[in-house]
């Protein structure tokens, strides 16, 4: 099955810094989603982005499906951005998503 890798595994930032999280996958995909799991365990959908670029406030994401990677950008980070960021992919439309191992982000005040 498809393999999903995320880097870095852990990231510590000072509040206000910018960061880039990466998701690599082993096969071409038609579906890709980014999630944030906050310190209370809630999983929140950030972006559905099988290709192209999307922006939502301080967050943006870019997926280059042909090169098998996606990037999540966090600008002017805040302590509330702390948590684990997951990338999930599916090879075909309608197929179940496979999750990466996540990047744990800690934003310090």
């Amino acid at each position: 099955g498809i393999q999903v890798e995320q880097s870095p595994p852990d990231l510590i930032l000072q509040e206000g810094a910018n960061s880039t999280l990466r998701c690599n996958f082993s096969d071409s995909v038609n579906n890709l989603q980014w999630f944030h799991q906050n310190p209370w365990g809630q999983l929140i959908n950030l972006f559905y982005i099988p290709s192209g670029t999307k922006q939502n406030g301080r967050l943006s994401a870019t997926t280059v499906a042909t090169e098998r990677y996606s990037l999540l950008y966090i600008s002017s980070s805040q302590t509330t951005d702390s948590g684990v960021y997951f990338c999930a992919v599916a090879v075909y439309y309608g197929q179940n998503f496979v999750f990466g191992p996540g990047t744990r982000l800690s934003v310090l005040p």
Binding site: N31, Q33, F35, G41, Q42, L43, I44, N45, Y48, P50, F86, A88, Y93, G94, N96, F97, V98, F99, G100, P101, G102
Partner: protein
Amino acid sequence: IAGITQAPTSQILAAGRRMTLRCTQDMRHNAMYWYRQDLGLGLRLIHYSNTAGTTGKGEVPDGYSVSRANTDDFPLTLASAVPSQTSVYFCASSGTASSGYTFGSGTRLTVV
């Protein structure tokens, strides 16, 4: 507020007991999923249902069963709980193949 409701929020269960985790969504999504999340192992798919009346096995289905009698409900049953089923369980739904997942708040289950 539209979304997914999971119950209970947490549970301590004696090994060998039967337990049903409930999941209800009010978004009329066709597809529903059950994942478990374990430290170091990430999120793994247990069972899924693409539409009411159908179910399928995910990556780790053993020891679990599901049913999908209607669009809104997707209960997960542990017939005889074992300590290795201690985990956080998340239910999710998806309206279309291109709309992505919405997750419930999770059920923390401890089997002792």
